[in-house]
Structures are given as structure tokens and as C-alpha cells.
Assembly symmetry: C2
Homo-oligomer: 337 residues x 2
Amino acid sequence: MLSDRVRMDAYYNAIFENKHHFRGKKAVLDVGTGSGILAIWSAQAGARKVYAVEATKMSEHARELVKANNLQDIVEVIEGSVEDVTLPEKVDVIISEWMGYFLLRESMFDSVISARDRWLKPTGVMYPSHARMWMAPIRSGLVDQKKNDYEGSMNDWLCFVNETKNDYGVDMSVLTKPFSEEQRKYYLQTSLWNNLHPHQVVGTAAIIKEIDCLTATVDDICEVRSNFSSSILIENTRLCGFGGWFDVHFRGRSDNPAQQEIELTTAPSLDSSTHWGQQVFLLHPPFRTSEGDDVNVSFLMNRSKENHRLMEVDLGCEIRQSSGKLLPLFKNKFYIE
Amino acid sequence: MLSDRVRMDAYYNAIFENKHHFRGKKAVLDVGTGSGILAIWSAQAGARKVYAVEATKMSEHARELVKANNLQDIVEVIEGSVEDVTLPEKVDVIISEWMGYFLLRESMFDSVISARDRWLKPTGVMYPSHARMWMAPIRSGLVDQKKNDYEGSMNDWLCFVNETKNDYGVDMSVLTKPFSEEQRKYYLQTSLWNNLHPHQVVGTAAIIKEIDCLTATVDDICEVRSNFSSSILIENTRLCGFGGWFDVHFRGRSDNPAQQEIELTTAPSLDSSTHWGQQVFLLHPPFRTSEGDDVNVSFLMNRSKENHRLMEVDLGCEIRQSSGKLLPLFKNKFYIE
């Protein structure tokens, strides 16, 4: 939280430009308070009481920080998981910095939903109030680099198989297929953290998921399914994959709106990059595309069965050139690890 | 296992230069067989039966490999933890590649001890049969690099504390002490994997632990305590810390010895480095020493309470210069993570 100024500024402005949500005997719940910074700001903005829940030993630092800032009468740091915590009252605001890579990795929003359903007053406000996931076609040298890495790794393996046969009398070639699948998964099918330059985005960006933090259920976010179309905007370029990012907004609620709406975006940017960066899904091999081509994408993201904090993606992509010609369908499975 | 030729050669030679331990209706247990290579070699060396136990899904690959090498009648791959497995007979040989960084990290030898106590015949042989841990004083530029990293991190933190006070109205200086301790632990008190050049060893190496794999108990290896002395061998050099490594030997047993003793060493080496490298414990600040100085070291290693596969080390070091002058005692805690 602390070392990312874009993130800090968004939360700071969301709170201090909307003090009406905090002032006047309001109670606030901060889910996963970490160092306690959001709880402290909530108190400084005028909250009567702030419950700052933190599952890890960071709670001890949060407690120290609250005391050093002389807010121990307002901010109560509670060590525990928010699912188990009992508060003495319902709250007017739930604030949380719960967003993971590509919004949903880590599945932290589950805890916010649980807290909301148990502790938010019917008139309560969520900070942030809305979230969206985005995707856009991109070009990137990563596609060549990862292909090289994969091929290098397979070359090493084949040398090794040879050597093991000749020097150690064991034929390992039966493992070439599973080894290749593992390497392919690692180099070509695992999404990559990347700080994209805006010029790397070669087509229109599409919203693939919208979340109203006041009403979304865990079922709503377990699966993200989207069929979208993007138009290539650049003459004669490579389509090397897709970049995914998110934004969140602080809008209050319709019957108690923000005075000043704040946006926190993790879109490709020259001067406002965040620690979230973007997630990149690579296409092997890349396609040649040009201005006016349409890219039709089917996207399906589910939680991994082995670890519900990680994600698996089925991605299909079909290019209809401006001439009308349809290029062969690309389909692949990706892992957000 | 497979990509480290020093390791491969040692096990290969240990088995094939001592076939008398495997031939003649001998049964073998391979603890943690991984890809199955040691089990296959044992079968190729003439064993009647090899039980290859593997706790992970690697067992499926091992089974395929055994079959591809036409040894499925001899090698039986068993998926499960060796502590839970039931074999139909006691075995003549237990073979295992159980060594972690600095020998004992990962605490894999516990499983070998358990297997030995349950399944090795009273006349049985351990492969390897002996293990030793070594330490020696070293010089290394890592000491400067890690000091710089630590100081850079603290500078960033202090800037951040300033910024947070000025721009966001929160005083975080109360967290400077715990932050500094955390960074100190990370940069200066965590032992480092390193491939030392033999010239970096500046004093005599000492054995700090000897293990007879046939008789050692878990209690014997839980704690490693040693007071040793090392003589500096180089004129006017820096003592920057200590390097730790291990070797193992394949000697059979006194009443059934190896025909050809094999050694696998992970000592600093120009042309026979292993994936184990050495573990480096840095001294901050380094000492100036010279030929003839004596370094008296107290070393105590225990398993970490939070994770018994990791280790904690208390290291004390006192230098008696050849003039007789005693330099101030250095004491520090280290973490092998």
C-alpha cells in the first residue's frame, strides 16, 4: 500500500474530499488494515470510531502507528480474520484496499463481501464502491523472449536426455512430453506482470467485468466470462497478446453519493504506473494485424481448484481482417500465478 | 538431482563401483526417489527388488521412467510418505539423496532415519554412509553489496516517512525501528547461497559436525553446536564472514565396506561446483586480518520454531591477532531460509 503513490493519492483523496461520509458520529470498518493507514485517515477525516481488522502480525505495527498519531481513542485495531470478528455495532463505511493483480487474484474481495453482509448498515457506503476489469490487444517483445526461453529450456532437456542415456545408461525420453508441457505452462501459459507502455496497446480496450461493491456476491466474482471485440488501431503491427488491468471508483452510493468522485486506474500509463502493473497473456505465435482488423475474444476466468487465490483462464481469439478474411482461431489456457 | 553432474557422478559411481552391495538378491529402498534415477541405477547394478518411495506426484513420472527402461519387475514405485509406507520385507540398502543446503536445511534426513529404523536389516548399508559439515572464514564483496542494499532500503524508508508526514499527515516514524530490524534480518542476517571461488577461503576449514548415517538419531541432528578455531592463511586480507558446506561419503559399513569409497563434496571448487553451492554468513563490518591470526568461532544451529525445515544460527567470532591482541567479539543471529 504505502510505496505506491497513485494508490495512496487515490485513497487519500477519496477520504478527504468526501469527509461527509466520515464526519458526524460515523463508524468505519477497515478490512485488512495492514499498517493502519486507511483507518488513520478515516479517523482524521472525522469518523467517531474506526474498527481496523488485520489477520496478520502487522496488527501490532498498526496499533503502534495509531498510538503514535494519537488516535487510540478512535481507531481500534483488531487482530483476527474479518470473517470471525464481532463488532459492537454496524458501520457506516467499509473501506478496504483489497485489489490483487488483475483485480481478483488473491480473492481478497471475498472477505470484504463477508464483512459487508455482516457489518454494513443498510445505508452504508463502500470504499471503493465500484470496480472494473479491462482487456486490450497489445504488442510486446516478451512474446519472443518467452519463446526463446522455452526453446532454450527444451534444448537443454534434450541434451540432458542424450547425456543421461550415453553416460548413465538411463533412457529419459519418456519424460520429454510432460517436461515440455511443464515448460510450456511456465514460459508460455503463465500470465506475466508487466508495466506496459501506452503505445504497446494496439487496439480498443474493452470492459470485461463490472462489480458493484455494494451488491456483488462471491458467486458473481468467482467466474469472469466475457466475449468482446476490439478494433486494431495501428497500421501493420503484431498482435502479441492481451493486457489486462482494472480500475476502481469511489462514488459513494446513489442515495449518498461522493461529493468528489475519485478514480484509481491501473491502465498502461507513462507517469502513473502502479505496483499492480498489468497482466499480460501472450499469443504464440503472434499475428500480423493492421488498422481496421477486428479481434473477437472469448475470455473465461475461474479460480484454480488447487488454490482458490490463483486463477485459470481460457482464452480464445479470432481475427477478422478488414478485407473480411478470417484468420485461424487461437485457443489457449493461461494461469495467473 | 538430474542437472547436477557432480551429484549424478557421485551416486552413479557409488552404485556401480560397489555392485556387491546390490547384487545377489538384495532389496533396496530409495527414500524420496523423485524421477526414480537412483532406483533405476540400483536395479541396473543387480538388485533383486527396489522400493522407490516418493511423496509427491513425481511418482507418476518415476513409474513411467521405470517402465520405459524395462525395470518394472524390479522397481516398485510407491507414492506416499516413507513414514507411512509398509514394505513387504526389510532391505539390505537404503539409498537417498536427502541433502539440503548446508546439509540439513529441509530436514529431509529425518525421513531417512525413520526409514532406516523401520526397514533396514541389522546388516544393512546406508547410501551415503557418512556426512560432514564444514566451515571456513572467507572474503567476499557480498558484504559491501548487502550493506549498501540495507542502507539504500533504510534511506528509502526515511524519505517515505518524511513524505507521509508532509503529504498525508501521518507520522510513521514509530515504525522505523521494526522496519530497520526487518531489513537488517533480510539483508544482513540471512545466510546467502553462493558459489565461492576457492581463493575466497582465507583460513583453514573446520569440520563442525560428523554424522554416521547408520546410527544418527533425529536428536543428533536437530542441533549443531561447534566451537572451532581457524588460522588465517593470507597476508593482509578482510574477514567478511564464513562459508559453510558439506560432504558425504559412500563407505558401506565397517563389516561390509565399499570396494571403492566415493566422496561427494560441495566445497568451494573451480570446476566441480554443485547446485548446493555454499551458505555464506556475513560479518558486518568485516575485520582486517592477516596471516597467522586465529579466528575462534562458536556456532550453534537449531531448527526454526516456525518452520522446522529452516534453521537459525547463533554465531560468535573472536580474532586473536598473531601479535596476541584480541579484537572485539562479534556476535550475531542468522537465518537459513
